[in-house]
């Protein structure tokens, strides 16, 4: 079942002679229970695609439909609520607050969204699976790049979103950890019926994807 549809999306920046088209007539569908991989080199428009799909940016033309809701019809507040409750972001910039311990990163989610998050047991299981269960009292500055990225993944999954949008989630991980994260995303899609969209240039993730798209110069094609 399709939960995320990107319909004829075009995105341009600048005006007149400075106008740059980053995405051209992009169409994309993500279904529950599937991992969709969007592969492309740096500057190909991957992150712009992801921000538009998640309602952070608005397209110049076209629309995004999330679980039947056209984002262009929603107010900023409603888009915030949709991101908080339905969409989990795993960002390149990691999404950790520097003055919160790993444990408090999850406590923050509980305070903003008290219902619908993972149970304590599920969180413990998730942290163990990602190999970071012993880091709960550490601050982000005390973690390695790979550990930080895994905590960021756990934090996004803790919200128990229906759709997970991940921007280069394995950029700082070794091959062993790439397999763990890839398998985790795959299991989440299959066991918990999540729609997972990963934009990356890491081809090691291809084996965990159900569908693979290529993006080049703003144009998306099925790989």
């Amino acid at each position: 079942m399709s939960v995320l549809e990107v319909k004829h999306v075009t995105k341009t920046f600048g005006h007149n002679t400075n106008e740059v088209t980053v995405l051209t007539d992009v169409n994309f569908t993500a279904a529950a229970g599937e991992v969709s991989l969007v592969i492309g080199p740096s500057g190909s428009g991957k992150s712009t695609f992801l921000t538009i799909a998640g309602g952070i940016q608005t397209p110049t033309a076209g629309d995004v439909v999330v679980q039947g809701n056209g984002l262009s019809q929603l107010s900023g507040k409603a888009r915030d609520a949709l991101r908080l409750n339905r969409i989990g972001f795993i960002l390149q910039a990691y999404n950790l607050v520097p003055y919160l311990t790993v444990k408090d990163q999850f406590a923050l989610v509980d305070r903003v969204k008290p219902k619908g998050n993972l149970s304590a047991a599920d969180l413990r299981h998730l942290l163990e699976k990602l190999g970071i269960s012993q880091l709960t009292n550490q601050y982000p500055a005390e973690l390695s790049g790979g550990q930080t990225q895994r905590v960021a993944i756990a934090r996004a999954l803790y919200q128990n979103p229906d759709i997970i949008l991940a921007d280069e989630p394995t950029a700082a991980l070794d091959s062993e950890r790439v397999k763990v994260v890839g398998q985790l995303l795959h299991d989440l899609a299959k066991e918990h019926n999540k729609a997972i969209v990963v934009v990356t240039h890491d081809l090691r993730l291809k084996e965990f994807a159900d569908k693979t798209y290529a993006i080049m110069d703003g144009k998306m094609t099925v790989a």
């Binding site: 740096s42 992150s47 712009t48 609520a81 908080l84 910039a93 003055y99």
Partner: protein, 353 residues
Amino acid sequence: MFLALKEIRHEKLRYGLIIGMIVLVSYLVFVLSGLAYGLAQQNTQAISSWNASKVVLNSDANDSLSQSLITKQTADKVKLTTHEAYIGQAGVVAKAKGQAKLSAQFLGINQSQFIYKRVKVTSGHKPVTSHQIMVDDSFKDNGYRLGDKVTLNSTDTQYKIVGFTHNAKLSVAPVIYGTLGTWRTLSHVTTAFQASGIITNRDNFKTKTSDLSTLTMSKFINKLPGYSAQNTTFTFMIGFLMIIAMVVIAVFLYILTMQKLPNYAVLRAQGIPAKVLVTTTVSQALILVVGGLAIGAALTLATVLALPAGVPMSFNVPLLAGVTGGILLTGVIGALIPVKVILNVDPVSVMGG
């Protein structure tokens, strides 16, 4: 509040310095306000203790009690009731054997009139003869005791301290209460002069003679030598200090907020409402300001306890509430300035290309 407290706990040095700055600002404002109020009090304590409404002075005295002399002939034209009292003022230097000289204000009063009845005695009794005086408690701090014989100015006449009264100061000098006869002696005037002025506690009191002018008590107080200039100076100092405090706190909070924008952008990308981030910023400012105020108030209290009794520092609830509210308000305004930046934070700024 959760984010605000967690950040303060984690960034102890940074927030400690900001609280330290607020402590210094609030301490300075508290001390200056206390001094301003204390000095103002010492100008008017004696007058306030009479609980009077108006003062009648010689119309040529330029609204100054010390410059005013009312002749008996003029005084007789004014019909006094139990609500009026004569008062004679003279600046004196008091000295007693073995004690330091003290500059004071002598106030001659009539024991059958209301001022005499309203003056409160802390020890001893009120003067009943022309050789008896009752003095402000501050004489005690200078070694004067009940029964001490005091000379006033260059006269050889000795006056016995028969009583002490609390908070009796006029123009920042301790008051000596005595009789109107003693006032005449000290002022070198004859019985042709009745008093320096007439004090009344009737709001509708009027005189019909053009030789006298009637002033409201607030106007009379504002005309006390140096009183208005001193109060205006302190008011401006405190006002400017509050403005500077607001600018400094606002700049600090603005810089802090700008440093946190990448974190806020990530949180916004995750759907954390802007309201949560604004509440965090404002509550953090309130925590810092309240913390700084509490420490500043404790330091002020310690200073008050450590200061010698002669330093005119004094507080009251409206003053403290006003100063505290003012600093809190500056903190909130300072925190609200970067709110627009928070509301406009762009989550895309933290996304890769």
